[in-house]
């Protein structure tokens, strides 16, 4: 991609002899908000640390705006990082935490004061500038950490699971705040998360990682509606995935003949894509959970367990009762073995 702003090429990252990220290639456009999504331990933090310069790559290059910064020390890169733990300075006031980097730049006092003021205003903490970080709530600490990085006007802002320490309501609030900030400042942001809903809601594009390898890269729409591997499909809510063998699909306890062209790969259904109450297949409802807008059923069928949801506005089915259901082929997503969609 020619319009790449941040560019990772063949990046190999390792702790000692343990290679964590074998060969990472990624291009991020200027002003883009990228989500690095993946299960715990897949190397997201490691990738962030190497971009920030806190960890030297074994091989490969990192460049920003066409300039190779692979060997540039961390304090000269102009990259901001919001730590998952916030990493605030406990001995300094809110004001001084934000002023820390500006003072190092030896800016005039008045300029620092106005920039800090502005930064605190942006995250809504202007009224707390004399507090110590320990006297603030988790959400406030998170915003302080954000302000501290923002006032430095970084070329790229990295955020390592910035919302994971917050409660559900605050997380939603901060999600919107981040999005607004990004729109207002136009800063290129890469944020790490293992929450797919967060990635879908925030990102311009999502990088789905598994064991240090990019499984799929695309817009939220593409990843949600057109995952192209079993892993991606599973991650984005295709909870019923069956392997194809010949003209049958294989479940845990049985097989089912289906009419498809493909001879191998997987068929995957979202719980909402399976209709119950009518259809050619039979099963028994083994459990039901109420989840607000939806009811979640587990059906025991000859094929194995199947997860289905129905709108909770429709009347419920009884647990233990036999039920008909339909695994419609046209509602399934076909996933090939090697990850390419057919």
């Amino acid at each position: 991609m020619s319009d790449a702003y941040v560019s990772l090429k063949n990046l190999t990252l390792a702790y000692g002899k343990t290679v964590v990220v074998p060969d990472l290639n990624l291009d991020v456009r200027k002003g883009e908000l990228i989500a690095l999504l993946g299960p715990s331990g897949c190397g997201k933090t490691t990738a962030m640390r190497s971009i920030a310069g806190l960890m030297a790559p074994k091989s490969g290059t990192i460049s920003i705006d066409g300039v190779d910064i692979t060997r540039t020390p961390a304090n000269k890169r102009g990259i901001g990082l919001v730590f998952q733990s916030y990493a605030l300075f406990p001995h300094l006031s809110v004001f001084e935490n934000v002023a820390f980097g500006l003072r190092l730049k030896k800016l005039p006092k008045a300029k620092i004061a106005s920039m800090v003021e502005q930064g605190l205003q942006t995250v809504g903490l202007a009224h707390l500038s004399d507090r110590k970080p320990e006297d603030m709530s988790g959400g406030q600490q998170q915003r302080l950490s954000l302000a501290r990085s923002l006032v430095m006007e970084p070329k790229v802002l990295l955020l390592d699971e910035p919302l994971s320490n917050l409660d559900a309501r605050l997380r939603l609030e901060m999600r919107n705040e981040l999005q607004r900030l990004q729109r207002d400042t136009g800063i290129t942001m890469i944020f790490v998360t293992h929450d797919q809903a967060e990635a879908l809601a925030l990102a311009d594009r999502i990088v789905l990682m598994k064991d240090g390898i990019v499984e799929q890269l695309g817009t939220p729409d593409e990843l949600y509606n057109a995952p192209n591997s079993k892993f991606a499909a599973d991650f984005f809510g295709f909870e019923n995935i069956f392997e194809i063998e010949g003209s049958e699909i294989v479940g845990r306890t049985g097989r089912l003949t289906v009419l498809i062209d493909a001879k191998e790969g997987y068929l995957a259904w979202r719980p909402s894509a399976i209709t119950i109450g009518s259809g050619p297949h039979q099963g028994t409802i083994s459990s039901m959970a109420f989840a607000g807008e939806l009811r979640e059923y587990i059906i025991e069928a000859p094929l194995g367990q199947i997860k289905v949801t129905t709108p909770s506005s429709t009347p419920p089915f009884d647990i233990g009762s036999p039920i008909a259901f339909d695994l419609a082929i046209d509602k399934a997503r076909h996933l090939s073995k090697n990850g390419e969609e057919t």
């Binding site: 920030a52 310069g53 806190l54 961390a74 304090n75 890169r77 990259i79 901001g80 990082l81 730590f83 733990s85 990493a87 605030l88 300075f89 406990p90 001995h91 820390f100 980097g101 190092l104 730049k105 501290r148 990085s149 430095m152």
Partner: protein, 259 residues
């Protein structure tokens, strides 16, 4: 379980055993007689006053002060970076290094003193003062490393990384972020080192020369010649000084957290 009274008795006896000698010393110093006796022979402050007129006490007090202050500072200059390195980096044999650093606590002081005399002062012509300074620095070092380590352990390393990303050098991150946050640990180590050095006898015993003696050693040799209550008075004053220092440390720093 013990009854209430048995418990009180045990506590009482323990305290008497620990603090009793202190009171005996104070009272013995208050004696009006010519010899150190207990109970005191009449009451007067003249021996407390005399302490300040003995010239050798003044000289050795200065030397002890010098050793306690600069020995501790030297130990901290060595010990703080050592503690930092041990707690931050996975140094090969880090635990072993910690044990070796603690050796002066374990090895009897009298052996350390003899070794320094035999291998530094005599063959290398080190002055006694220099040998004393080195010995005291080495003695305080383990305390410095231990106390500073424990306050360093609560400090997350990502704070330093944050400082670096905001433009600090590694050294800058240490002075701007690490040091201010281990300040009270360093102060605690200073006080502990000071008191340890000031009260040190066995090592200093071997390292004394003409006119160069630490205060405790000087008191010992004074007593060999003159058995008047002034040594008791001086001891009481020193004990009081230690109590005041430790009390203030506890009050202002929560000293007991670190030791």
């Amino acid at each position: 379980m013990y009854s209430k009274w048995t418990t009180r008795l045990i506590i009482g006896l323990t305290l008497t055993f620990l603090i009793g000698p202190f009171f005996i010393i104070i009272l013995a110093g208050l004696s009006d007689g010519e010899f150190m006796t207990f109970p005191p022979d009449g009451i007067s402050l003249r021996w407390y006053a005399k302490v300040f007129t003995v010239e050798s006490f003044r000289d050795s007090f200065k030397l002890s002060m010098f050793l306690a202050i600069f020995g501790t500072i030297a130990a901290l200059i060595l010990g703080v970076p050592a503690a930092y390195a041990i707690s931050r980096y996975k140094i090969p044999y880090g635990e072993t290094i910690k044990t070796i650093v603690a050796a002066p606590i374990i090895v009897p002081g009298i052996i350390v003193g003899l070794a320094l005399l035999r291998y530094l002062v005599v063959p290398l012509n080190f002055t006694v003062t220099l040998a004393l300074f080195m010995a005291h620095t080495a003695l305080i070092l383990p305390y410095a490393v231990r106390v500073v380590s424990s306050s360093m352990n609560n400090l997350r390393s990502d704070m330093e990384e944050a400082a670096v990303l905001l433009g600090c050098s590694r050294l800058g991150a240490f002075t701007r972020v690490v040091l201010p946050n281990i300040q009270s640990g360093v102060l605690a180590a200073f006080i502990l080192g000071f008191v340890t050095s000031f009260n040190q006898v066995p090592v200093s015993l071997f390292l004394s020369g003409p006119g160069v003696r630490t205060l405790p050693i000087d008191m010992l040799s004074y007593m060999e010649i003159t058995y008047d209550p002034s040594v008791a008075a001086l001891s009481a004053l020193l004990a009081l000084l230690s109590v005041v220092i430790v009390f203030m440390a506890e009050k202002f720093l929560g000293f007991s957290r670190y030791v």
